[in-house]
Amino acid sequence: MAVTVNGVEHVREVEPRLLLVHLLRDELGLTGTHWGCDTSNCGACTVWMDGVPVKSCTVLAAMAHGREVRTVEGLETPFGLDQVQVSFMACHGLQCGFCTPGMLMTARWLLDRNPDPSEAEVREAIAGQTCRCTGYENIVRAVRHAAAAEREQAS
């Protein structure tokens, strides 16, 4: 199979039963994507496939053949961290950090589609991501902080 991850094409021979999360972590060494509940509930494994967030514990690696995957490692650019990463740090949007890769990927997707989300819209967007540390308050704050910063940069 051939898959493009964060702009780099990788060719691997994989078992059909290999899950995308394990391809990313074990074969490609991209351990930023976390492997959590294994039941598509917790969202820690969320990556983008063809521009859309999906839970990579419930996608076969073979299904990603010919597709473009973006992981948390693909958020950073040569010019620095993505604004959502900066805002999660600024607002303490994480404690243990386990859910953070999934949160960041979903947050980035939300802000690309909605540059000024309400608190309710942020909470709806991350409804498929479980955080057991923060109580979500600082995560919601971080996403809206990133939104405000990006709107300011754009103006």
Binding site: E15, P16, R17, L18, L19, H22, D38, T39, S40, N41, G43, T46, V52, P53, V54, K55, T58, V59, L60, A62, M63, H65, T106, E124, A125, A127, G128, Q129
Partner: protein, 278 residues
Amino acid sequence: MQVPAHFEYERATSLEHAVALLTRYGPEARVVAGGHSLIPMMKLRLAQPEVLVDLNDLTELAGIRIEGDELRIGALTRHAELLGSAVAGEHYPILHDAERVIADPVVRNRGTVGGSVCQADPSEDLSGVFTALRATAVIQGADGPRRVPMRQFFTGPYETAVGPAEVLVELRVPLRPGGGSAYVKVDRRAGDWAVAAAAAALWLRPGPGGTPVVADAGSGSPPSAPGTSRPPRPRSTCAAAPPTRSRSPRRARSPRSTAGPSPTSAGRSTTSATSPAS
């Protein structure tokens, strides 16, 4: 670590190719689209297909459109697309009612309408919705397409009319004037499976003296057990009668219940598995 048992993987390049693959591999082959029901079941060995036929490249099976007097929803349409479809919500708000409470946004990006219906999980949301709307399933086999009304589509939990060498192509919902519809689900946690659920649709037409009367009514609930996947027929009890509170789908929201949800969920919504018109 939860990993499925060994299987072979094939990616279909056309509908005909998918049917040919299913025919070649026999009843131990399964189609996979979003995979959000099948892959978890394979991890748990509740399902152990020998071959998976991946339909994700069949873009002709995706999308929502109006053709003639039907709303046609492709089997490969993602839940997120149905939830975001203005045309679907305009004609049948029940579709958005149900999609809004299916899992979570990221799962809805991947899971498909056809996959949910074909899984026929006893707690699944869309089965009752399409039954209430009197939809028709278009199923493709080696001999061409055939149509099955949703009332005959579910033969029991996890069982449908789709044969081993067939693929669900689309769901066709008749568009009729004067319609209203709603879906109510009782669940314990955000994005959870339903403890109980009810779908209802009602169509009105002008009656004597201009008073609207009920032209037709449909109801549906998830395919829970053999013999119970077909809800009672409300048509016989309220057709041609003026719509009153006791005959409206909103009745499904009233606190009367035979399904007996837990007291903790009673504050959110309480549904009855019986006919909304009874």
